[in-house]
């Protein structure tokens, strides 16, 4: 068991493309860190650098006290679960799990013991003689997990392990991975582009964008206090609404550009007339009575999900007005063409710098 430390880790490819622009982070012993971000943000590259599949251009990665930059993947004592599982197609489930141990010259009875234990944990006992081709997606996923577990590594690396599964299985495997990780207490890095997976699995999140860690923190902290407009838009589903606005001259709130709507917000740190980007989460917009409403949205599309109803619309004003999505209770009936009066608590009004996207306190 060991923690994991990144200091100033950068990746520059030989063709000059810079994938990772300097990550500093530390992962505690037994912690599960989820690296989340859109495709091409460098999250997989970061993971592969930990695995040793990509060279580290600059900086240092330590597993425990050991600098691993120069070590071969096999010598880093890590185990990786790949997106397409990467099981050896011609080997039985048992051999798939045992292969790494055999290469490390683990005694035969020790291999048998570890594989049996992993198979028991993952309910693969009846499948040990089969080949990957004869397994379902979920079972293959488990074998891939089993291959990682038997190595008893310092760090688990997961590279979007659930994205090849169907929605139901994904939820189930998500729970299994979490349970397993907690019972084994192994330090884990988990890469995903799915923010629901990120929120549910993570002890802490690293939200990456364009090769930079935009925010590192506990899932709920990231949700409540996103450090940048990017993080705010990426974490949370449906995504946060962004409205261009200016700080009111009175210093008590913001005026949504082009609509005349005024929102009460904590703007004490901002000078009046300053342009800002207002972020409102769809679930924080609450229906209100006509006269107490801060915003009125003209609904042009309704998605009824059962438990919730998502209403998409625009804030009427001069011109088209900014678009807005609202999450309403499923029992509430909304029709296209309705105007829904809304209110929002000042605590839930996020303000960002329109230039660099940083959060304004």
């Amino acid at each position: 068991m060991a923690g994991l430390t990144f200091s100033g880790v950068r990746k520059t490819y030989p063709n000059g493309v810079r994938a990772v622009h300097g990550i500093d982070a530390s992962v505690g012993d037994g912690e599960l860190i989820v690296i989340v971000g859109p495709s091409g943000c460098g999250k997989s590259t970061l993971l592969r650098m930990v695995a040793g599949l990509e060279a580290i251009s600059e900086g240092e990665i330590r597993i425990g006290e050991r600098r691993v930059n120069e070590l071969e993947p096999a010598d880093r004592n890590i185990a990786m679960v790949f997106q397409n599982y990467a099981l050896y197609p011609h080997m039985s489930v048992f051999d798939n799990m045992a292969y790494g141990l055999r290469n490390r010259r683990t005694p035969r009875n020790e291999i048998a013991r570890r594989v049996a234990a992993a198979a028991k944990t993952l309910q693969l006992e009846d499948l040990l003689a089969r080949r990957p081709g004869q397994l379902s997606g979920g079972q293959r996923q488990r074998v891939a997990m089993g291959r990682a577990i038997v190595r008893e590594p310092d760090v688990f690396l997961f590279d979007e392990p659930l994205s090849n599964l169907d929605a139901r299985l994904r939820v189930q495997m998500r729970l299994e991975i979490r349970r397993l990780q907690q019972s084994l207490g192994t330090t884990s890095l988990y890469v995903t582009h799915d923010q629901v997976e990120a929120m549910t699995l993570a002890d802490r999140l690293i939200v990456m964008n364009g090769g930079v860690a935009e925010q590192i923190g506990r899932p709920l902290d990231v949700y409540r206090h996103p450090a940048t407009a990017f993080v705010a838009g990426f974490i949370g589903s449906p995504a946060m609404n962004f409205l261009p606005a200016t700080v009111a001259a009175t210093g008590s709130g913001v005026i949504i550009s082009g609509t005349g709507h005024t929102l009460t917000a904590a703007v004490t740190a901002c000078e009046p007339q300053r342009p800002v980007l207002v972020g409102l989460r769809p679930e924080h917009l609450l229906p209100a009575s006509e006269d107490s409403a801060a915003l009125k949205v003209a609904v042009d599309l309704v998605e009824a999900l059962g438990a919730d109803t998502l209403a998409h619309g625009i804030l009427p004003g001069d011109g088209a007005g900014p678009a807005l999505t609202v999450r309403l209770e499923g029992s509430r009936r909304v029709d296209v063409g309705d105007t829904v009066p809304l209110t929002v608590s000042p605590d839930h009004v996020h303000l960002f710098d329109p230039g660099n996207g940083n959060r304004l306190v």
Partner: protein, 282 residues
Amino acid sequence: MIERRPWLNVLSHFVLCAGVLVTALPIWITFVASTHPADSLMSGRAPLWPGAHLFENYATVLDSGLRAAGSVPVGMMMWNSLIMALMIAVGKIVISIIAAFGIVYFRFPLRRTCFWLIFVTLMLPVEVRILPTFGVVASLEMLNSYWGLSVPLIASATATFLFRQFFLTVPEELAEAARIDGAGPLKFLFDILLPLSRTNIAALFVILFIFGWNQYLWPLLVTTDESFYTIVVGIQRMLAVDDAEPAWHLIMATTMLAMLPPVLVVICMQRLFIKGLIEQEK
């Protein structure tokens, strides 16, 4: 594809039957000729039904060969052919797997150039480079040896290309997983890549064995010692007799025997062969 057009069925069956006839008739005539005595073939009319001398002719061929016509026993020539064909087939497969493995899995300077150099040799078959190759083989004193028969034919751009294409379809993650599992390049090659290429190797073996077995020009050049004659060359020698009629019945019997090993290889490896041609197990 399911179509309900009776006349199309009739037409396609006709074409197929005609094709079978065209392919099978010469083989049948060869077989028939190998069962007749010498004089019945000299009468000017080729018989269409087997005669009574089947065992006699084959026994003669296998036992003594055409000593009278100045040839060596067929058994020995078949042995030579077998050695040569096996050496060529195995050699080609080994060399091209190693070459393709290097080209696909290793980054080294001029990797692409190397690949294209190999590929370009497709344009230089043995017939084109036969004189210089003969010169090299002669100065290496490999004339009249099994090495001389097989080594110059072993380098194979086609097989290298086939294996390269196959290796490219093997997911990269498999190599990465093996690396994490502590398998070095050679271990990865033997434990993972070769078992996955099993069907490709079988298919290629069949093709290359037949290629090797049917070699004519090169064995004709490099063998002057009768004990290294291959069967295909031997058949030609049987025809080239002075002052006598070729012993057609025995030549045909030899031809039938010469066809046997390739047919056996195809039949034995048919399942793997077809699998290798049509699907890739992943």
